[in-house]
Subunit: 215 residues, 2 copies
Amino acid sequence: MCDKIHITSADIAEMEKGYRRNFINTLHGYKSANLIGTIDKEGNHNLAIFNSVIHIGAKPPYIGFIMRPAFVPRNTYENIMETGYYTINSIQKGMEPQAHQSSAKYDKGVSEFDEIGLTAEFGTVHTAPYVKESVVKIGLQFKEELHIKLNDTKLIIGEVVEVMVPSDMVLKDGTLQLHKADTLAVLGLETYAEVNPIKRFEYARPDEETEGLAF
Amino acid sequence: MCDKIHITSADIAEMEKGYRRNFINTLHGYKSANLIGTIDKEGNHNLAIFNSVIHIGAKPPYIGFIMRPAFVPRNTYENIMETGYYTINSIQKGMEPQAHQSSAKYDKGVSEFDEIGLTAEFGTVHTAPYVKESVVKIGLQFKEELHIKLNDTKLIIGEVVEVMVPSDMVLKDGTLQLHKADTLAVLGLETYAEVNPIKRFEYARPDEETEGLAF
């Protein structure tokens, strides 16, 4: 690596809009890539890609995602508020063209499943559609919405109420081997990446070297 | 992939604690892996790994992370509240043993930099320590704290006020080529993974195929 750039607030403020969007979005590292599926009261399906899904807690099992005001799929938010349920679905290698296309601004009532060529599938706990082609399918019940006043975004939190996953992907200790199904990550808004585990450690304690675990 | 498992809330509630922690933490996919550096009023340095750093907005440039109540580095939170500044530093391949060891519960006042063998480095905007060995170094000013009542966690949001990054890592459009420096991602709490971009798309529009971009 060659020379370092030193950037301050004034430099960031002067960046061209697209440059700043890419720079700030890629700065902190790789993100999960997921498709969020919803249904409205009339039964219309909606599907949209999100790269902001995060772990909130394991007991009870809570997962969150950030909903940006200018971001495309506001239908996702309206549908969650209408029905109380939504699904989070993984993106496998080969699905990235369809997954990315789901970020286009389709009209309300148009099913992204049909437009982009993915298949709706259903569980037994709620009526929100899962993505058949996804290997990990998570069903959530809406629990809490936090408003980030700074830039008018929302953190939407749901409780995991249903999971469908291949049995041979789950290690004995509960860890999902996502690489077995070529699950992708995303960088910024549009770069899809494959991921390969290199090392797994035990719980760390001061003055102790941790052992490696299977992954 | 073989048989699918179908899991509902009752199954999750009955999972053994460690199994549930691994299962829920790995469910939604890969996460960014970062070291957060802080300093207290007395000048003591603190460093801790976080896998919950997320993008909040590009203009102004906001980045957030989740602080869990039972999670180790409460010093991080106290120091941010005392001084108003902190750093987010990337984890390169080869740094994963030190990075993971930073999650051990060291006493307050003990510098994780010294204990785990990483080097503190400083910018010009604030006094919080960066990690010299990290390739991407982000300096933040604390802006907003949101309390997630559901499970007593916090979303901490800061504004990016300083960035140090190698010049040959930044594409003309602002995108950081994190793979050039073997930047790692994390799965769950303890599995470190290398990441390789496979495809980059343009902004998606309905009824249009997007072109591939350089990555």
